[in-house]
């Protein structure tokens, strides 16, 4: 709760600091704010508390996911350096919107009431609609914002229908009440309940861009300014999956049989569509969009497994995925900006020679994304797969996932090959600020550290 | 019994309608006479003695004029627009307490069509619906002047609605009730709200000028820039409805101001007068009847004030209008809420 209040206040302060002539103070200030929120959030650890008539509960689950999301924002903000250099007039608004959207994300992982879930999703989404279109003069950014907004509004409607139908069937917005009603009635109260559940699943699947509701993702990710794409594919997705798991665990555990077939279909489809779609891309950013779809699939696998290891594996996977994605987008941002806005694999040609640091960070990130040992991504996938394997009937799902991970190695290593094996067309060194380099090193070290000692995070929940 | 109740209600409604329409009709006459007086002219004096039949002649003209509906307009919305404006204007007079209760044959009759406990909210809500009539009509005309007039009207009305609502909030903090009758009863004698809410009254007065689209806020229909504004394309009875709705709105705004700030039907020494009669029923009825007269005197004064301002002040520019609404009135209204809150807690 403190983090929600702090973030709101800090966001407003940021807005007003933006009226100062010099925008240089904004980045350090925002980082400081996020660090304060991160610290304040930790104080709630092991001290679960409910707020607003139990509409919000800050328990360890919420604290852990809040921590990851704040950390992810903290790590990706330093790469907004170029906005400061070009003296973007709306810089303060961008930072504030990120802080405000974090409020929504936190509500999505700590809700106990469907209304809070809905409000959280809206707070998060509306900020993202704006940020998607923040590059006002680029047509693609406008297109991305409009697509995201129209699609998002439509699926928000679907989600709301789901909530309403569930309310109609159970007479409550509270997760515990819904669970109680469902438990008495063998998990399926009536047709209205089942339909509502289906609509809920569809609505949230859209938010985490799971197939077949992923169609907006590539276009929106490509058009959105890279910094915010990075935020979208990390924080928004983590919040969505965490909210999804919480919803299923707290309200619909008894209705497992009702949503399991739908969800497993979505999961398999997401894995296949995400990975196969990524293979055929020539644009690195679009590839990352499809890759984020496929990672939604891995995250959903943990949800499908639905046992005591699910939440911890979602947590670890989210963290490892966020770290690697932030690096990938950050490097892409620097490379494409200084190589004429080129976002294809060819832009990375010869990066290993000109910028060994960037190339190395990118390689580690790609390894982590594809799940190579000694990186965080390996343990992320391992934990998810072991969670799924507990149920022997789901063995086939793991086989599909491993096959798809192998496909993943192919397209993730395309960029590594480009960096180290292709001659540089443009031998100019990519300029990168010292703070940003430090951040890249930090994230890379963190990724490898988690790959060696996963217990740092995996045993939290 | 039930049908008797219904008949009573119907009579109430007819009476209120009649009063409203009569006053609105003669407001047009008064407007022209006042204008003439201020401009040192004679004004209408041909139809009937002192030109008193002039409004009827005008109304007749509205009926007999040929009407055009532009070929390019949206026909249905074109008709609905003035309809909404008029319906909304008529509805808003429903809750105004014109007087206290009369006792006739042991039966208590309140001189108010409807007593709802959210009267103020009702008026506030219904009046703000009025902008739909303007907006729909202006848009449906498919005329550039009308469109500009319509969006100006919408923008202006919503801007001033906020400050108006906030000045009402300050009144509500004092009365603790949304019922207009209770608000009126609390101001018995000379205990009028104006003594406690001068700033609120000025804000409310300004906003009601803007809400009724009267000069100096008549930008939606300013002739020099926009021909007739949102009703450029209107003629015949539909134009009549728009113009009539404006005068009804003035009447309602005056009545609300009199009720909220100037003690409605209350007047000084009314209790002494009531006690001067030996029979309490007679005393009550006499005081009530005088109260009704007082109420209408207050309403007429405000209607006159509307006209006085119209022929005295020049029109605002649009940027000045928005600046006044957002940057002066709203901060002032918020300040007024804070002052009222502090005042109530400190002195009460």
């Amino acid at each position: 709760m403190t983090s929600i209040i702090l973030l709101s206040i800090f966001g407003i302060i940021n807005l007003f600091v933006g009226f100062m002539k010099s925008k240089r103070i904004l980045l350090p200030l925002s980082l400081l704010f996020l660090a304060v929120v991160f610290g304040a959030n930790l104080f709630s650890w092991n001290e679960a508390q409910s707020y607003f008539n139990h509409m919000l509960t800050i328990d360890n689950y919420a604290v852990a996911f809040t921590g990851i999301m704040v950390l992810a924002t903290l790590l990706l903000l330093p790469f907004s350096q170029h906005y400061i250099e070009e003296a973007n007039e709306n810089l303060a608004e961008f930072y504030s919107l990120l802080l405000f959207s974090l409020v929504g994300a936190i509500m999505m992982v700590s809700y106990e009431n469907m209304l809070m879930l809905f409000i959280g999703i809206e707070i998060l989404s509306i900020a993202m609609y704006v940020l998607a279109g923040s590059d006002k003069r680029r047509l693609r950014s406008n297109e991305a914002a409009l697509k995201y907004f129209l699609m998002g509004a439509f699926f928000t409607g679907v989600l709301l229908f789901g909530i309403v139908l569930i309310y109609g069937a159970t007479g409550s917005f509270y997760l515990t009440d819904i669970a109680a009603t469902a438990a008495v009635n063998d998990g399926t109260v009536n047709a209205m309940f089942t339909l509502g559940l289906l609509l809920l699943v569809i609505g949230i699947s859209f938010k985490i861009s799971a197939a077949p509701f992923h169609f907006w993702a590539p276009d929106v990710y490509e058009g959105t300014p890279t910094l915010f794409t990075s935020y979208m594919s990390t924080v928004v997705k983590i919040a969505g999956v965490a909210a999804f798991y919480k919803l299923m665990a707290a309200a619909f555990a008894a209705s497992y049989a009702a949503w399991f077939p739908t969800l497993i279909a979505i999961t398999v489809l997401t894995l296949v569509v995400g990975n196969i779609g990524a293979v055929v891309q020539t644009n690195f950013k679009r590839m990352l969009a499809y890759s984020s779809v496929s990672h939604a699939g891995y995250l959903l696998m943990a949800l499908v497994a639905f046992n005591e290891r699910s939440d911890a594996s979602i947590l670890f996977y989210s963290l490892s995925y966020a770290l690697a994605t932030i690096v990938a987008f950050a490097v892409l941002q620097y490379v494409s900006e200084q190589r004429n806005g080129d976002e294809t694999y060819a832009a990375f040609n010869g990066l290993g020679k000109t910028n060994p640091l960037l190339a190395f960070a990118m390689t580690v990130a790609m390894c982590s994304l594809s799940g190579i040992p000694l990186t965080a991504g390996f343990f992320g996938k391992l934990f998810v797969f072991t969670a799924v394997v507990q149920d022997a009937r789901l063995m086939w799902l793991v086989v599909v996932a491993v096959l798809m991970a192998a496909v993943g190695i192919y397209y993730y290593f395309k960029v590594v090959i480009a960096m180290y094996m292709q001659p540089a067309a443009d031998a100019a060194k990519i300029r990168i600020g010292s703070f940003a380099s430090f951040m890249l090193i930090f994230i890379t070290v963190f990724t490898i550290l988690l790959g060696i000692a996963p217990a740092l995070v995996s045993d939290l929940l | 019994m039930e049908s008797v109740e219904l008949i009573y209600k119907a009579v109430y409604i007819l009476v209120i309608f009649g009063i409203t329409l009569l006053i609105a009709t003669y407001s047009t006459y008064a407007e022209r006479k006042v204008a003439a007086f201020i401009q040192d002219r004679v004004g209408p004096n041909r139809a009937g003695p002192f030109g008193l039949m002039q409004p009827l002649a005008d109304a007749g003209k509205m009926f007999f004029k040929e009407e055009f509906i532009p070929a390019k307009s949206n026909r249905m919305l074109f008709i609905i627009g003035p309809g909404i404006a008029m319906i909304v204007a008529c509805m808003s007079s429903a809750v105004i307490p014109f007087g206290d209760m009369l006792i006739i044959g042991g039966r208590e009759i309140y001189l108010q069509a409807i007593e709802v406990n959210i009267g103020m909210l009702y008026i506030f809500g219904v009046v703000s619906l009025g902008v739909y009539g303007l907006m729909i009509g202006g848009w449906a005309s498919n005329n550039k002047f009308s469109l500009l007039g319509a969006i100006r009207a919408a923008s202006q009305n919503i801007s001033y609605e906020l400050a108006m609502g906030m000045s009402i909030i300050a009144i509500l903090m004092m009365t603790g009730s949304l019922s207009l009758r209770e608000i009126a009863e609390q101001q018995a004698g000379f205990n009028w709200n104006i003594w406690y809410q001068p700033l609120g009254f000025i804000i409310f007065l300004t906003c009601s000028f803007a809400e009724t689209n009267r000069t100096p806020f008549d930008l939606p229909e300013c002739e020099t820039e926009l021909i007739g504004g949102y009703h450029t394309e209107y003629s015949s009875m539909k134009l009549g409805l728009y113009l009539f709705a404006e005068y009804i709105n003035i009447f309602v705004a005056s009545a609300v101001m009199a009720t909220l700030y100037f003690g409605a039907y209350n007047f000084p020494f009314m209790e002494n007068l009531r006690e001067a009669f030996s029979d309490p029923v007679v005393g009550n009825n006499v005081v009530t009847l005088i109260g009704v007269a007082v109420m209408f005197a207050k309403i007429f004064f405000f209607i006159f004030f509307f006209m006085w301002v119209r022929w005295t002040l020049p029109r605002f520019r649009y940027d000045q209008l928005m600046k006044l609404g957002w940057q002066i009135l709203i901060p002032l209204a918020i300040l007024n809420i804070l002052l009222t809150g502090g005042g109530i807690l400190l002195f009460d």
């Binding site: - | 008029m86 008529c90 603790g176 539909k238």
Partner: protein, 163 residues
């Protein structure tokens, strides 16, 4: 007051029906008795006597939308303030809490309004509330006669009239 057959809001419905009938009656009577002789010239859109160009249903200044957005925020605030205002001054609540209720509710509402004031201040500082000011072009004429001459002439005329 006696039990009434129609509730208060039922009477409002009667009022609505009455107004609708009144409007329809007016429009219908006018339709019956007025002449109706349209021709294409009469039915064109009025544009100061010129041939109308294009359609009026076009995009207009986005400032109007911004004003509408800010309005909605404050209107919602008003909706919250109305119930607050009616319980704020309740004597029994204030007495039951020894006066603490009044200050508590006042400060709570100050904070709520304060956040919205911050929003207004932000929109203000960002310039969303500034309408475009017209820049009048004053007619300039080059004249060989210096303005002083006019002033002297006027003064002389004034003096003559005074005398």
């Amino acid at each position: 007051m006696a039990e009434t057959y129609t509730s208060d809001f039922g009477t409002i419905l009667l009022f609505l029906i009455g107004s609708v009938i009144f409007v329809m009656l007016g429009l219908f009577t006018a339709k019956l008795i007025r002449p109706h002789r349209p021709n294409p010239e009469k039915l064109t859109t009025y544009e100061s006597g010129e041939e109308p160009i294009g359609n009026a249903w076009v995009q207009f200044n986005p400032r109007f939308y911004v004003v509408a957005l800010i309005f909605i925020i404050f209107d919602v605030e008003l909706a919250f303030l109305f119930p607050w205002a009616t319980v704020f001054g309740r004597r029994e609540l204030i007495e039951a809490t020894n006066g603490a209720w009044g200050w508590f509710s006042l400060i709570e509402m100050f904070i709520f309004i304060g956040i919205l004031i911050l929003g207004l201040a932000y929109a203000w500082a960002k310039g969303h509330l500034d309408w475009i000011k017209p820049k009048p072009i004053l007619p300039q004429s080059r004249s060989g006669i210096p303005p002083d001459v006019y002033r002297q002439f006027n003064a002389r005329q004034e003096a003559k009239r005074e005398a």
